[in-house]
C-alpha cells in the first residue's frame, strides 16, 4: 500500500486528528485526552500570564512542545489588527511560525469574519508565517485564501462548539475538488462519526476540541475520534460503492434449491 502522508507546511504527521486544549476540567485531563487521541498537533491560545497567582499550572509543563506541535490560535480576535498582534506574540514565545488564524465576526454564531481573515492571511504569509486558516465553507473564499498563501484551508463544519456536525457536505466536497492544500474540518463536530464523515468526504484531517473536552467521558471520546479519523480515511481511500435505489443481493442468484 502506498504510504498515506499527511503533510502540513512540509512537515509529515502520522495522525490526522488535531485537537484543541481548551475547556478541559484540568491540565491533567487535557494532557491525558491528547495522549489517547494520538494527536501530534494541538491548538493553544495566547493569553496574559497570571501575575497574581504564580502557582497556576502552565500548559507547557503538561504538554511538551518538543513532542507535540503547538498551533497558536487567534481565538477571541475580532479584527485583523488583534489577530496579527496575537500571532506575532506567539512567534516571539519560541519561534512558532505554524499558526491557526481565526478572526471571528460575531459573538453569537462565532462565524469567521472573512474579509479580515483574508487580509490577515496575506500579511502573515508575507511575514513568513505558515497560516492554517479557519474559514467558512465557501469554495470561492477558500480559493482566495489559497491564492493569498494559506498553508491549510480549515472550513467549519458548523458553528464552533455547536456539535452539529457537517452542515454543508456539498461545499466541503467542492472545496476538496478545487484545492491540493491540506483541507481540515475545523469546528462544529459533535461525535466521532462526524469526523469519519469529514474524512470520507476527502478531508485531510479534522480539528476537534469541545466534542472531546465536554463529552461525559473525554478519554473514551478521544479514543473514539482517533479511531473514527483512521476509519474515515481508510474508507475514503478504499473507494466506496455506488449508491443504488433498489436492492442487489449479496448471495448468488443461481443454484437456489
Amino acid at each position: 500500500m502506498k504510504k498515506d502522508k499527511f503533510i502540513i507546511s512540509k512537515k509529515n504527521f502520522k495522525s490526522r486528528l488535531i485537537v484543541g486544549t481548551g475547556k478541559y476540567k484540568s491540565m491533567q485531563e487535557c494532557a491525558k485526552a491528547i495522549n489517547l487521541s494520538g494527536a501530534e498537533i494541538v491548538t493553544v491560545a495566547v493569553r496574559r500570564v497570571n501575575i497574581t497567582d504564580k502557582k497556576k499550572p502552565l500548559l507547557m509543563d503538561y504538554i511538551d512542545p518538543k513532542k507535540i506541535t503547538y498551533l497558536p490560535n487567534t481565538a477571541g480576535c475580532f479584527n485583523s489588527k488583534e489577530a496579527l498582534r496575537t500571532l506575532r506574540l506567539a512567534r516571539e514565545i519560541g519561534g512558532w511560525k505554524l499558526v491557526k488564524l481565526e478572526v471571528l465576526g460575531d459573538k453569537k454564531n462565532l462565524f469567521p469574519e472573512m474579509i479580515e481573515t483574508l487580509k490577515s492571511t496575506e500579511i502573515l504569509t508575507k511575514e513568513g508565517f505558515k497560516v492554517m486558516v479557519y474559514c467558512n465553507d465557501d469554495p470561492l473564499m477558500a480559493k482566495r485564501l489559497e491564492n493569498a498563501g494559506a498553508c491549510a484551508i480549515m472550513p467549519l463544519a458548523a458553528p464552533i462548539g455547536s456539535g452539529l456536525g457537517i452542515i454543508n457536505e456539498i461545499n466541503i466536497q467542492i472545496i476538496r475538488k478545487q484545492t491540493k492544500l491540506p483541507l481540515i474540518i475545523d469546528a462544529g463536530l459533535g461525535q466521532a462519526s462526524d469526523a469519519a464523515v469529514a474524512m470520507e468526504l476527502g478531508c485531510d484531517g479534522v480539528l476537534v476540541n469541545t466534542a472531546i473536552a465536554k463529552a461525559k467521558k473525554p478519554f473514551q471520546m478521544a479514543l473514539a475520534f482517533k479511531n473514527a479519523v483512521i476509519a474515515g480515511r481508510q474508507s475514503y481511500l478504499s473507494g466506496r460503492i455506488k449508491k443504488t435505489l433498489y436492492g442487489n443481493p449479496s448471495s448468488p442468484k443461481s443454484g437456489i434449491i
Binding site: 491560545a45 500570564v49 500548559l59 497558536p72 506574540l89 506567539a90 512567534r91
Partner: protein
C-alpha cells in the same frame, strides 16, 4: 523615600521604583522567560535586551503565554 512611577502590568496598575528596568519587573514576578512573550506599549520586546529597557511613567507591559484553547 525612593521616587515611584506608575505602570500597567497585564492591565493592572502598579507603582514601581523610578529607574526600574523591564528585567526587574520580570524577575520580581518570577516570569519564566522561555515560556512568554513581552510587549511594551504594544511593541514586542527582545527578551535578551530586558536589562537595557528602562521603564517610564504610564508604560504598559503585557506578558503573555500559551494556555488551553481550541
Amino acid at each position: 523615600m525612593k521616587k515611584k512611577i506608575k505602570i500597567k502590568l497585564n492591565g493592572k496598575l502598579k507603582a514601581i521604583n523610578y529607574n526600574s528596568t523591564l528585567f526587574n519587573i520580570v524577575q520580581k514576578n518570577k516570569i519564566p522567560l522561555t515560556k512568554v512573550a513581552i510587549e511594551l506599549n504594544q511593541e514586542i520586546v527582545d527578551k535578551k535586551k530586558l536589562k537595557s529597557i528602562n521603564l517610564k511613567n504610564n508604560d504598559k507591559i503585557e506578558i503573555v503565554h500559551f494556555i488551553g484553547g481550541g
